[in-house]
């Protein structure tokens, strides 16, 4: 069967054959992860470009427009053209910027979100590094973006950017809490922090966690949207209030890095949502006869979740900064704590003390 695991085996077999040909078999252990990372990087770049195109198409059709349709078939190459434009364009910098933080901020924003991809299992065994603390790792590493955004807002020496940076700090810190709390019930049930382990548990149990944990799913998607600074929680950017927020003064490649960082954050959080709640690479039950490889199922689910996030953006107004805090602290956190309590008590009732 043509599954993700087979692909990995074939590829690694090919690689080891190639190493033997050039005589560096001894180094294989060191080179393998590097090559995997490069492949990952390529895949993610292409996928993010597809997402940008998808977002524009989705928004266009929601607004009864056509969207990009000039470059390539259905405008698919539009993002490539945009990327070329952004990379070749002049990098306009404010004179009184704080030079080093201004330079570092977009790199941190890009890298921090990108690192999250390392532990996402696309298929059984198709994962760069299957950490046993995968969820913790993702939550920790994506939290880095707040530093990037705050640095960007501060170093641009622009009033709107500074306001945006402060808003972002307040927002991301308060939405980390419900994000983590919504994941806790699943960890309680499965007893593992590894993402692959959670998917395997769903396979054995025969159901996806979205069914017992619908509340957690809603809380997770909401907080993940807020974490990625996307509408309706895009107050750090808020183009009708703060023009561009923290990236007001960024242009060219640096802007592209922020832009890509935002989309990768969407991919990472949606991928985690798929893994935790939608059964990762498992096939949809009533469509099992299709016998598609696991990573195709994963991508289908991923794109559906991302569509949901995009539909939020193009339907809802933006919250005000204090209402955002209120919503986070007064609605999401109590709900997620309640969810933990209910899950724990039901599990105790059902399985007794020896649950697991």
């Amino acid at each position: 069967m043509f599954t993700g695991e087979n692909i990995i085996q074939i590829v690694s077999g090919f690689l080891h054959w190639a190493y033997a040909q050039v005589g560096i078999s001894a180094l294989a252990g060191a080179i393998d992860p590097v090559i995997t990372a490069i492949v990952m990087f390529g895949f993610i770049s292409v996928f993010v470009m597809f997402l940008v195109w998808m977002e524009r198409k989705v928004s266009a059709h929601m607004q009864s427009r056509i969207g990009p349709n000039r470059v390539g078939p259905f405008g698919l190459l539009q993002t490539v053209a945009d990327a070329i434009k952004l990379t070749t364009k002049e990098d306009v910098k404010p004179v009184n910027r704080d030079k080093i933080p201004y330079f570092i901020a977009p790199i941190v924003a890009f890298v921090a979100t990108f690192m999250g991809m390392v532990v996402i299992p696309f298929d059984k065994g198709m994962v760069v590094q299957d950490l046993n603390v995968g969820i913790l790792y993702i939550i920790a590493i994506t939290g880095f973006t707040v530093i990037a955004i705050l640095t960007a807002g501060w170093s641009s020496n622009n009033k709107f950017a500074l306001l945006g940076g402060f808003r972002s700090a307040a927002q991301i810190i308060s939405y980390e809490v419900p994000l983590v709390l919504s994941v806790v019930p699943i960890i309680m049930i499965t007893g593992t922090l590894s993402l692959s382990g959670i998917v395997e548990y769903q396979q054995q149990a025969g159901y996806w966690f979205i069914f017992p944990q619908i509340v957690a799913f809603i809380i997770f998607i909401t907080s993940a949207t807020a974490e990625a600074n996307r509408a309706p929680f895009d107050i750090p950017e808020a183009e009708s209030e703060l023009i561009g927020g923290f990236h007001t003064e960024y242009s060219g490649v640096k802007f592209a890095m922020f832009f890509l960082g935002e989309y990768i954050a969407v991919v990472v959080s949606s991928a985690v949502a798929v893994t935790l709640f939608l059964g990762g690479w498992l096939p949809v039950a009533f469509l099992g006869f299709l016998h598609l490889p696991g990573f195709i199922w994963f991508l289908i689910k991923l794109v559906s979740v991302i569509y949901l996030v995009m539909a939020f953006r193009w339907t809802f107004p933006r919250l005000r900064v204090d209402q955002l805090m209120d919503f986070g602290w007064k609605v999401l956190i109590p709900l997620s704590i309640l969810n933990i309590l209910i899950t724990a008590s039901v599990w105790l009732l059902l399985y007794g003390k020896g649950a697991q």
Partner: protein, 381 residues
């Protein structure tokens, strides 16, 4: 968050970390000011301490220009006063001139004027709805609003040849009669349009985020609203009946049935509700007017050169899309007005912005500004 920090600082009397006023220039080029309005906003963290509008970036002195043009020529400039609702301003000037010179427009012209002014009100409110939602952060209603507005503009272009500055309503009548298929096209549009209003309401009215952003924000109390000269839908949101169409009927507004839309809360949400309900009323007015449209002349008999009597003056008011639109004309016996004054709703509505935003957050400036339905060319003239 900022409030908390500040309160801690102030407890010790002399503060160790002084906080500065944070002065931000919103505009003249800013995505949310609908043109070239400049707001100097003094902030304390996210909280607004003072909003000072700086006007005049679009001042073209249309009143001075009108003093040097003949009465019919002035109409072309009234288009530019409020280009989102040009028909209403056209009519405001034509009405003042007709009263000044004792001209009575024929019945068909009056009904046509009513149809076009109400269509214009629909177009203007649609653009407003989109821009208001856009200010709050929902971008899709803007496109929906423009989509329907486009069909209204198509009706205008079919009749008078222009889409924005019509110069259609003239002194003593209208420019040109409608085409034979106008009535059927107009009814088709209304049939298409009415379900769309429900769609906008689905999208916005009870959306919890929209409610959060607009309910209780920017409350105009009735006393303050009247005293500060707020008018039109913005004042009707505070529960004051102030529709000039009801209080000082012009055209044939006393012959059609329509309700004056009044909400009582006075916040952004009630102003939104008033305008949404007004769209439905406008649709009903257009339907009634189309039924009563009868063949006949479209232009009154007039002398070839229009001259106002010596020492004559008139102040006439109409309800434009944005509120009360007054035109004050002083005639001196020549073909040109000695003085022309346009009293515009946006100008007097914008005055309350500072009082409405004091103590609120930055984002509320956009919500309040959007809900007041302000158009910069009308403020600056």
């Amino acid at each position: 968050m900022t409030d908390l920090l500040l309160s801690q600082v102030k407890v010790g009397g002399e503060s160790q970390f002084g906080t500065d006023e944070y002065v931000v220039n919103l505009g003249p080029q800013h995505p949310a000011t609908h043109g070239v309005l400049r707001l100097i906003v003094k902030l304390d963290g996210e909280t607004v301490k003072e909003t000072v509008p700086v006007l005049g970036y679009l001042h073209r002195s249309i009143e001075k220009i009108c003093e040097n043009r003949t009465y019919p020529q002035c109409i072309t400039y009234t288009d530019r006063i409020d280009y989102v609702s040009a028909m209403s301003v056209n009519y405001a000037f034509a009405l003042a001139t007709e009263k000044l010179m004792n001209i009575e427009a024929p019945a068909r012209a009056q009904w046509l004027r009513m149809i076009f002014i109400e269509l214009q009100r629909l177009a203007s409110h649609l653009l407003w709805m989109g821009a208001f939602a856009g200010d709050i952060g929902a971008l899709t209603p803007f496109l929906y609003g423009l989509r329907e507005r486009e069909r209204i503009l198509d009706l205008f272009e079919m009749t008078c040849g222009q889409r924005l500055t019509y110069n259609y309503i003239r002194i003593g009548g209208v420019m040109i009669d409608i085409l034979p298929d106008f009535v059927s096209k107009c009814i088709a549009f209304l049939d298409y349009f009415e379900p769309k209003i429900d769609e906008y309401e689905d999208l916005l009215t009870y959306n919890p985020i929209f409610l959060e952003r607009t309910k209780g924000v920017g409350v105009i109390s009735p006393e303050m609203g009247i005293n500060a000269g707020v008018c039109g839908p913005s004042l009707r949101g505070s529960g004051i009946a102030c529709d000039v169409r009801k209080q000082q009927p012009y055209l044939y507004y006393d012959q059609v049935k329509f309700a004056e839309c009044i909400e009582t809360a006075g916040d952004c949400w009630s102003r939104y509700k008033v305008r949404m309900r007004e769209m439905r009323e406008s649709v009903s007015i257009i339907r009634q007017s189309l039924e009563r449209l009868e063949p006949g002349p479209i232009e009154a008999k007039m002398p070839p050169v229009l001259k106002a009597p010596l020492n004559s003056e008139i102040y006439s008011r109409i309800e434009s899309s944005r509120g009360e639109m007054g035109v004050y004309l002083v005639g001196d016996g020549t073909a040109k007005p000695w003085k022309a004054k346009f009293r515009c709703a946006s100008f007097s509505n914008l005055y309350v912005l500072d009082q409405l935003t004091k103590g609120w957050k930055v984002a509320d400036i956009m919500a309040v500004l959007g809900s007041l339905d302000m158009i910069v060319p009308e403020v600056d003239r």
